[in-house]
């Protein structure tokens, strides 16, 4: 993964973003003192071609308030990721508390109002895993990726295979 430019992220981001200790991760504090980390973890399991998992974590001392600047900051980081890396981004919602459908909807909503969404193709699908848990997975690829069709086909075929009963 090519290194992202913090200055370019901060030129678009409402919150000041800094590099985190973990490679390819970034962090910021909101005006409500919520600490966020956003980053990209290489995928070595799901896709044959180069792909990264988008990971977003926040830490607070209470459930965090709604804050549209968080969405704009995360999208500024994702936009810089795609500016530097014409590759695949995967987002699998966390299932720890059973609220994965809510997370998937929130992410879809963020992306649906993104002013550059026309530059990307995104597909969301669900997978029931071996523990019987429904997982929501989204793939995002730049429309000018020369392998766009193959990547989307690989994703949909993988999801379809995963959903087949043994």
């Amino acid at each position: 993964m090519k290194r992202l430019d913090i200055k370019l992220i901060n030129a678009q981001s409402p919150y000041k973003v800094e590099a985190a200790d973990e490679e390819n991760f970034f962090e910021f504090f909101t005006e409500h003192d919520v600490h966020y980390s956003v980053g990209f973890m290489p995928d070595d399991s799901l896709m044959q071609s180069e792909a990264y998992h988008l990971i977003i974590v926040n830490v607070d001392n209470r459930p965090s308030p709604s804050d549209r600047k968080v969405k704009d900051t995360v999208l500024a980081i994702v936009a810089e990721f795609f500016d530097k890396n014409n590759t695949t981004l995967l987002y699998i919602c966390d299932t720890g508390d059973g609220k994965q459908r809510l997370r998937s909807r929130l992410f879809e909503r963020w992306f649906s109002v993104y002013d550059k969404k026309a530059l990307y193709t995104s597909v969301t699908s669900s997978v029931v895993d071996e523990e019987g848990i429904t997982n929501y997975a989204t793939i995002i690829v730049r429309n000018d990726n020369p392998r766009l069709v193959e990547i989307i086909a690989e994703f949909t075929s993988t999801i379809s295979l995963l959903n087949q009963k043994p």
Binding site: E27, H35, N58, V59, N61, S64, I92, D129
Partner: protein, 40 residues
């Protein structure tokens, strides 16, 4: 399915590492206990 579960497990481990560092940073910065974590 093994591949999918492996991807989930790798993400879980990554989040666990992040959480530990983030809680430390949060507490140092705000002076409040970091007792709530949310993973998108």
């Amino acid at each position: 399915m093994t591949r999918f579960m492996a991807a989930k497990e790798k993400k879980r481990q990554c989040v666990e590492r992040l959480e530990e560092k983030m809680k430390h940073t949060y507490e140092k910065r705000t002076g409040k206990p970091a007792n709530y974590t949310f993973v998108l």
